[in-house]
Each structure stands twice: as structure tokens, then as C-alpha cells.
């Protein structure tokens, strides 16, 4: 059994049911999307380098903001986490593979089609989606370009992929753990993904329903979101954010799991408060379902609604705070070293916390009347998504890459990548807090003169950050092609079953369940 090697040629990738192959494909796909979404972002930043319209027309600018958001959320961040789950969850729970390997193949392979469909809209008459990644009706229905139908089908396919992926992850975690691997012994990455998978199953169908209602409004004469026909444009926002808010936690919970694996390894001290981490994750997941309307404080809800959603949103700070305190306590009185994964993990804790602070400020409904739809919001969600989700993915890649390919990455280059990214992202996103507070609305291709200086800084930072990621690609390829051989443990006494197998991990692992202490 154990010595079955991979098939030869392209067929290996097309027909594979191996969790490691599928994990790798997810990660490569996600990186390709990350670069594509990054190019869209750089078009935006180039246009905003100075006031006036220089490079693109406003309608194309709107397509860029929309596609940047959609591609980064659905194409870069989510598939990267699914890729990591595929690679790591079976190895972490001592399973030979995912529970539903054929479906695993299918959930990956429909993604390239979804994104080809989405990207092709840019070449269509009338242009691609130009209504923002939140695609509020009626701008996305009555007033949308004809390509909106392709966008709707692309979202349907992405949703199907996510739902299948989640079912697979839940089935694997609940059924395939090695004997002795009780739930409260699972690594936190497994726990956070288990909870994330439930969130996905709960909300992806809501998103599918939302875009289906749009489809009906556009082509079949219904009026779900059109007041003229008895519908309600605000209904769209409620449905969208009922999906959208859990969605943002879908993009951060697995990151919590990654950081909870990396910090103990490099602090050489067990994770502080394991059980409270699990409960905090579950609390965040529960709260994520009852806070959606904080994205809609200005739509004119009754005051009781405003108050409820304000209080519920503020509450999220408690379990999130618990997590941050636990990470800091794990570091406290440890014996720390600062390899690249640890640098990314520490930057994650600090910068994600800053994003959390601005999130707390945004939760205060009266103050939100000034923040809402400004660059302050853009700064906030980029602080939780870039040094949050994206940094955790970088950290995970550096942490597990030696296990995946058997070679150590070049530590000097890894650190250089970290510092370039760190400086680049802070230059890009920190000034956005200031222009937002000073009154610059988001999603505008041109701006008043007082915002010019900070925008120029942000644009320069964005290019620095963007090009650092090409450097990251170089580092990863260099590591795969050769380098110092990694030991089986790779790091100094790390915890987890994945470190008990050889480096690189054999094509099949744990065909017989490992002993769990």
C-alpha cells in the first residue's frame, strides 16, 4: 500500500485523489489568483497615485475594485486555506487521506472554470462586474452590465466547491482521526477548520440564494430587490451580509489555527489556554451569525436594530481578545527564536490586533456614521485580511514547506521577504486610516486634493508589497528545487503528528493509524 507512487504526467494532477496533490494544486491555484488580484490592486493604486484620471476610466476602475475583491476573497484566501487543510488535516489527525477523495478532486477542478468564467467578463462587451465585491442591488441587477450573468454562475460554482470542500473536511475530522485522537487533543488548526467548515456549509447556500434572486430579477421578471415591483433593495444587503459576515471569519479562523501552531514551536512552550482557544473560536463563530447588520448602520434601521447589532458586534472583542492574550502568554517566558514563520506569526498578532482595534471603533454605531464607506473601513479590513489571513498563509508555507518538499528554505531570503512585505503593507494600508478619517470615500477613482500625499505613499507601498510576492514565488521555487535537507522534525521539537513522518512527507502517510499519546 504505502509504496504506491504518484502517476506520471498531467494525468496525475487531473485524476488525483491524493490529499497532498490536491492540497498542492489548491495552493498553486490560490497563488496564481493572488497575483491576478494583486495586479488588479496595482491598477487601482496606480490610478490613485495622484489626483485626476490618468490611466483608466472610472468604469474600468470600478471593474478593478470589484474583481480585486472577488478574486482575493474567493480565489486567493479561501482556496489557500482549503489547500492547507488538504495537506495538513489528514496528517494532523493521523488519517491516510481525506474522507471523500473523489469529491476532493472535483471540488478543486471546478474552481479554475469558475475563475475563467469570472475573468472572461473583463473582455466582454459592457465590461466585467463593476458594482463592488458586495454587489449591492439594484446597481448589480437593473443597472448591471450584461456580463453579470457570468458573474452569478461563477459564484454558484465557487459556492459548490466550498460546500463540497467543507463536507469533506468535516467528514475527515469527525470520522478519520487515529485512535486516541480525542477532539480536545486535536491541533488548533484542525479545530478552527472544523468550525470554519460548519460556517461555510451554513452560509454558502445563502450566498447562492442571493445571487439566484439576482438572476431571477435580471432575467425572469421578479422583483426581489426592486422597490418598483414591491421588492426591497435593503433585503439584498441583509441576505448578502448574513453570508458576508461569517465569510470574513471563514477567512480568519484557520489563520488563528496556524498561528496557534507556530507560536508554541518557536517559543518552545505549549500553547497557553488550549481549551479556552477552542471555546473562543466557537464563540466567535456563533457571534458571526448575529452581527451582520453592522455593515448596514446607515441604511436607516430602527434604533432597536442599531443597538442590538452594535452591542453584539462589540462582544466579538471578548473572545478575540482572549485569543490574543493567549498567544502573548504563550510567548511570555518562552525561549524564543525568530525564524521566518515566527516573524510572520508575530506580525500577525500585532497587526491583526490593530485591525481588531479599528473594528471595535467601527462597531460604535454613531461613530460609524463617519467611518462608514470611507478608507477607514478599507484600512480596517485590509489590516485583518493582509497581515491577518495572508500573513498566516505565508507563515504556514514557510513552516510546513520543508515537510512538503524535504528541503529547508533559505532563511535569509525568507526574512528579507518578511521585512519587505511588512514595510510594504504598512506603507500601503496605514495611511488609509488617515485619509478615511479625513473624509475620503472608498471606491472612487479620483479624489480631492487634500488626500493626495497619503495616497501617494499608499501607492508606493502597494508596489513594494506586490513585487515582494514575486520574490516569495522565487523563494518557494528555489526551495522545491533544492537546498539543505530538512530533518523529519524540521524544527526544534515541534508538536504534532505531521512531524513524525519523513521529510518530504511520503505520497501516502498513516496507512496504519499512528499511536497517539
Amino acid at each position: 500500500m504505502g509504496d504506491h507512487g504518484p502517476a506520471k504526467g498531467f494525468g496525475r494532477w487531473l485524476f488525483t485523489t491524493n490529499h497532498k496533490d490536491i492540497g498542492s494544486m489548491y495552493l498553486w491555484f490560490s497563488f496564481a489568483m493572488f497575483l491576478m488580484g494583486g495586479v488588479f490592486a496595482l491598477v487601482i493604486r496606480a490610478e490613485l497615485f495622484q489626483p485626476g484620471l490618468q490611466l483608466v476610466e472610472p468604469e474600468f476602475f470600478n471593474q478593478m475594485t470589484t474583481m480585486h475583491g472577488l478574486v482575493m476573497v474567493f480565489g486567493a484566501v479561501m482556496p489557500a486555506f482549503v489547500g492547507l487543510a488538504n495537506w495538513m488535516i489528514p496528517m494532523m489527525v493521523g488519517a491516510p487521506d481525506m474522507a471523500l477523495p473523489r469529491m476532493n478532486n472535483w471540488s478543486f477542478w471546478i474552481l479554475p472554470f469558475a475563475f475563467t468564467l469570472l475573468a472572461s467578463t473583463l473582455l466582454m462587451e459592457g465590461g466585467g462586474p463593476n458594482f463592488g465585491w458586495t454587489f449591492y442591488a439594484p446597481l448589480s441587477t437593473t443597472y448591471a452590465p450584461p456580463s453579470v450573468t457570468y458573474f452569478i454562475f461563477a459564484v454558484h460554482i465557487m459556492g459548490a466547491s466550498s460546500i463540497m470542500g467543507s463536507i469533506n473536511i468535516i467528514a475527515t475530522i469527525l470520522n478519520m482521526r487515529a485512535p486516541g485522537m480525542t477532539l480536545m487533543k486535536m491541533p488548533l488548526f484542525v479545530w478552527t477548520w472544523l468550525i470554519t467548515a460548519y460556517l461555510l456549509i451554513a452560509v454558502m447556500p445563502v450566498l447562492a440564494g442571493c445571487v439566484t434572486m439576482m438572476l431571477m430579477d435580471i432575467h425572469f421578471g421578479t422583483s426581489f430587490f426592486s422597490a418598483a415591483g414591491g421588492g426591497d433593495p435593503v433585503l439584498f444587503q441583509h441576505v448578502f451580509w448574513f453570508f458576508g459576515h461569517p465569510e470574513v471569519y471563514i477567512m480568519i479562523l484557520p489563520a488563528f489555527g496556524i498561528v496557534s501552531a507556530i507560536i508554541p514551536t518557536f517559543a518552545r512552550k505549549p500553547l497557553f489556554g488550549y481549551a479556552s482557544m477552542v471555546y473562543a473560536t466557537a464563540s466567535i463563530a456563533f457571534l458571526s451569525f448575529i452581527v451582520w447588520a453592522h455593515h448596514m448602520f446607515t441604511v436607516g434601521m430602527p434604533i432597536a436594530g442599531e443597538l442590538f447589532f452594535m452591542y453584539a458586534t462589540m462582544l466579538i472583542a471578548v473572545p478575540t481578545g482572549v485569543k490574543v492574550f493567549n498567544w502573548v502568554s504563550t510567548m511570555f517566558r518562552g525561549s524564543m527564536t525568530f525564524e521566518t514563520p515566527m516573524l510572520f506569526a508575530i506580525a500577525f498578532v500585532i497587526l491583526f490586533t490593530i485591525g481588531g482595534f479599528s473594528g471595535l471603533m467601527l462597531s460604535i454605531a454613531p461613530a460609524d456614521f463617519q467611518y462608514h464607506d470611507t478608507y477607514f473601513v478599507v484600512a480596517h479590513f485590509h489590516y485583518v485580511l493582509v497581515p491577518g489571513a495572508v500573513f498566516s498563509i505565508f507563515a504556514a508555507v514557510y513552516y510546513w514547506l520543508p515537510k512538503w518538499c524535504g528541503n529547508m528554505y533559505d532563511e535569509r531570503l525568507g526574512k528579507a521577504h518578511f521585512w519587505l512585505s511588512f514595510v510594504g503593507l504598512n506603507l500601503t494600508f496605514f495611511p488609509m486610516h488617515f485619509v478615511g478619517l479625513a473624509g475620503m470615500p472608498r471606491r472612487i477613482p479620483d479624489y480631492a486634493l487634500q488626500f493626495a500625499d497619503f495616497n501617494q505613499i499608499a501607492s508606493m507601498g502597494a508596489f513594494l508589497f506586490g513585487f515582494s510576492q514575486v520574490f516569495f514565488l522565487f523563494i518557494v521555487i528555489k526551495t522545491i528545487r533544492g537546498g539543505e535537507k530538512a530533518t523529519d522534525a524540521v524544527w526544534d521539537n515541534p508538536e504534532g503528528l505531521e512531524w513524525t513522518v519523513a521529510s518530504p512527507a511520503p505520497y501516502h502517510t498513516f496507512t496504519t493509524p499512528p499511536p497517539v499519546k
Binding site: 435593503v234 517559543a267 441604511v299 436607516g300 452594535m310 511570555f332 454613531p366 488617515f434 480631492a448
Partner: protein, 394 residues
């Protein structure tokens, strides 16, 4: 303390004391620097913070914002302080030996309950502000605000005064062909005029897609939603001109539909309102007048710049909308041209129904202009009464 060790605990407390002092020092130094005008001017030019605004509500929101901000700063200083302390002190390279502790129910309880208490402290002022903001009763002036792609309409309810407010920044400034003016993108042909010290209620809605009416100095931001009316209110303390922008993505020219509010002393406001009413009377009288070709052309050009240029281009060459040079509508039968302008285009939501946005004089002028500009040279013209006849006959 058992799990940390007594000596370490006292050391930790000392470090904590130091880091807690830091923001206070920072604040005082900022205030000390604040005395220098140059620094203040420079900070203002860069725009670092939320405006304090010119209403009681905007001041209250500013204070709330600063309160939460400083609470966050303090929490950040404590958490990051401890973090950096251990990153510096507990390095393997300096021989640190890892401790073994990994849980403590007491500590977990403390850092769940203390933040919850801090949140309650934040929620109290936030709630009281929100209740104030939601009380739009007893307004003295009611203004209906309608968002259009891409302009605002202001209607003074009960006063028979209504007008559109369009961006006046020339295309040449936007495309870098002319130097940009001081109020680049934040200037309009007709600002909203309100009196100071009176409660003004805004009834906000939209005609096509979502928009949001936002003036930072007033701390008023409300979504404009087709089919629904939202309300908001303000009492402005100081006369002045306050500028804002549409805050909800509303299509191509979302970045080009600013809001300008001119707050005046009550007497000036009364004069302005009387003038507006007179204007409306004159306009009514003008409806039956006959204009010369030159008058129509000149007026039409202005109307075109304000309403059509965003889609049909500076020289009628098209863009988001089709070209108007030598094509079917502008050089075809004049009644078809009137029909498009008055009723819009069936199945095309982007072309507005100008019949209820422009008056008959403006419609007649802009159609005349388009049929004779850019080499179209049709030579025909319309009078306001022709539009009236068309509307009556359909």
C-alpha cells in the same frame, strides 16, 4: 503570581508602569507641538483625523471616536508592551529557559471579564449619542434629498423650491489638461442652502440606484434608497460652506457627485429663499416665451455640461453612452429625439428619464444644442412650448 514568580512579577510591573507612561508623554508632546502653527497647518493639510464638525452631534461623535481610540491605544500599549518585553527578554539566544505553564482559569476569567467591563463603558455613551441622533422630531425645515446617477436634487418641502446640484469641476481639470482648483471635485453649481441654529430635517431617497448623502462636518450620513425614505437631521452652529461626497458606490461617476452645504445666517437664508421663489416664478413665465437660436444653444451647452457629458463625452463622441455625432437620434426626426429625452430608452436603465429632471426650457435648449453642435448642423430648434405640446400629446 505563582506561575510567573515573584521577582519576575515585580520586574513586569515596572515595565508595565513605563509603557503606561509612554502614551501620556506622547499626548503631551503632541499638545506641546500643537502650539506651533506650522505643525498644525501641516497636519491639517495632510488630514490626519476625523473632523470635529460644526454641530453638537458631530462634536459628540468626535469625542466618542477619540475616547474609543485612546482606550484602544492603552490596551495596545499594555498588550504589545508585554509582547515586546518577552520578545526581548525571553530569547533562546540570551539563554532563556522555557517555563512550563500553559493554563490558568483565574487569568482566563480575568481577561474575559475586564474587557467585557471596558465594553460596557464604551456602550453607555455610544447608546446615548445614538438615541439623540435618531430623534428627528420638531424639525423647522424639511428638505427632501433625492440621489440620481450622478447628482443630487434638493426640494424644500412646502416652499415650492427645488433644484439639482451638479459637479462643476471641468473635465479638463479631471484629465490633467488644466490646473486643479482649490475645491477640485468638491464644487457644485447650486449648493444646498440652510440656516444656522435651526433644526433641519433631511428626507433622503434615491431615484435609480443606492447613494449615500454624507457631509462630514455635519456628521450626517444616510443611505439614499430607491423606494424608501430615510431621515436625518442637523443643527449647524456656524455659518460656512461644508463639503461632502456620495458615500455609496452608485456606478461610473460615483466619485463625481459631491455635496456642498452652505449654512447661512437666518436673514440671509430668508433672502436666498425669496430669491429662489422669484426665480421659479420667472421660469414659469419664461415657459411661454420664444428664444432665439443663440439663446437656446448657449443654455443647451450648459445643460449638456451638467447632465450629459459624463456618458456622452465632452464633444459628444460617446463613452459609457453612444456617440451623439451624426448618429440616428441627433440627426434624425426631432420628435424621436424629444421622446428619448423625455421618456428615456425602454430597457436601458442607464439613460435617465429627463422628462422629470429637466424643465421644458432646458429640454428644448439641450436638444437644440445637440442637433447643432459638433458638426451635426441640423439647423432646427425647439421652444419650451414644443416640449409642453409633446408631453400633452403622449
Amino acid at each position: 503570581m505563582r506561575l510567573i514568580g515573584k521577582q519576575l512579577a515585580s520586574k513586569l510591573l515596572w515595565v508595565l508602569g513605563q509603557v503606561l507612561l509612554l502614551p501620556t508623554l506622547l499626548m503631551t508632546s503632541v499638545q506641546a507641538f500643537g502650539a506651533s502653527d506650522a505643525v498644525v497647518d501641516e497636519a491639517q493639510r495632510w488630514g490626519l483625523n476625523m473632523t470635529e464638525g460644526v454641530t453638537a452631534v458631530s462634536h459628540e461623535i468626535y469625542d466618542l471616536h477619540m475616547l474609543i481610540f485612546w482606550i484602544c491605544v492603552w490596551i495596545g500599549v499594555v498588550v504589545f508592551g508585554i509582547m515586546f518585553y518577552s520578545m526581548i527578554m525571553h530569547r533562546k539566544s540570551s539563554g532563556a529557559v522555557p517555563a512550563k505553564f500553559h493554563e490558568s482559569t483565574a487569568v482566563e476569567l480575568a481577561w474575559t471579564l475586564i474587557p467585557a467591563l471596558i465594553l460596557v463603558m464604551m456602550a453607555i455613551p455610544a447608546t446615548s449619542s445614538l438615541i439623540k441622533i435618531y430623534d428627528s422630531s420638531e424639525a423647522e425645515i424639511n428638505i427632501k434629498i433625492v440621489g440620481y446617477q450622478w447628482k443630487w436634487q434638493y426640494e424644500y418641502l412646502g416652499e415650492d423650491v427645488s433644484f439639482f446640484s451638479n459637479l462643476t469641476t471641468p473635465q479638463d481639470e479631471i484629465y490633467g489638461l488644466a490646473p486643479k482648483g482649490e475645491h477640485y471635485l468638491l464644487e457644485v453649481d447650486e449648493p444646498l442652502v440652510i440656516p444656522v441654529n435651526k433644526k433641519v430635517r433631511f428626507l433622503i431617497t434615491a431615484n435609480d440606484v443606492l447613494h449615500a448623502w454624507w457631509v462630514p462636518a455635519l456628521a450626517v450620513k444616510r443611505d439614499a434608497i430607491p423606494g424608501f425614505v430615510n431621515d436625518a437631521w442637523t443643527i449647524v452652529d456656524e455659518p460656512g460652506i461644508y463639503r461632502g461626497q456620495c458615500a455609496e458606490l452608485c456606478g461610473k461617476a460615483h466619485g463625481f457627485m459631491p455635496i456642498v452645504v452652505h449654512a447661512m445666517e437666518e436673514a440671509d437664508y430668508a433672502n436666498w429663499l425669496a430669491g429662489k421663489k422669484e426665480e421659479a416664478e420667472e421660469l414659469k413665465a419664461a415657459m411661454s416665451q420664444t428664444f432665439t437660436m443663440d439663446e437656446l444653444y448657449a443654455r443647451g451647452e450648459k445643460v449638456y455640461q451638467a447632465n450629459c457629458v459624463a456618458c456622452h463625452g465632452a464633444n459628444g463622441g460617446g463613452g459609457l453612452g453612444p456617440s451623439l455625432v451624426g448618429t440616428g437620434i441627433t440627426t434624425g426626426p426631432i420628435n424621436a429625439h424629444i421622446n428619448v429625452m423625455v421618456n428615456g430608452v425602454a430597457g436601458n436603465a442607464v439613460m435617465p428619464v429627463f422628462g422629470n429632471q429637466l424643465n421644458n426650457i432646458d429640454l428644448a435648449s439641450v436638444i437644440t444644442f445637440k442637433r447643432n453642435a459638433w458638426g451635426n448642423n441640423m439647423g432646427d430648434q425647439l421652444q419650451p412650448v414644443d416640449i409642453l405640446t409633446f408631453k400633452k400629446n403622449q
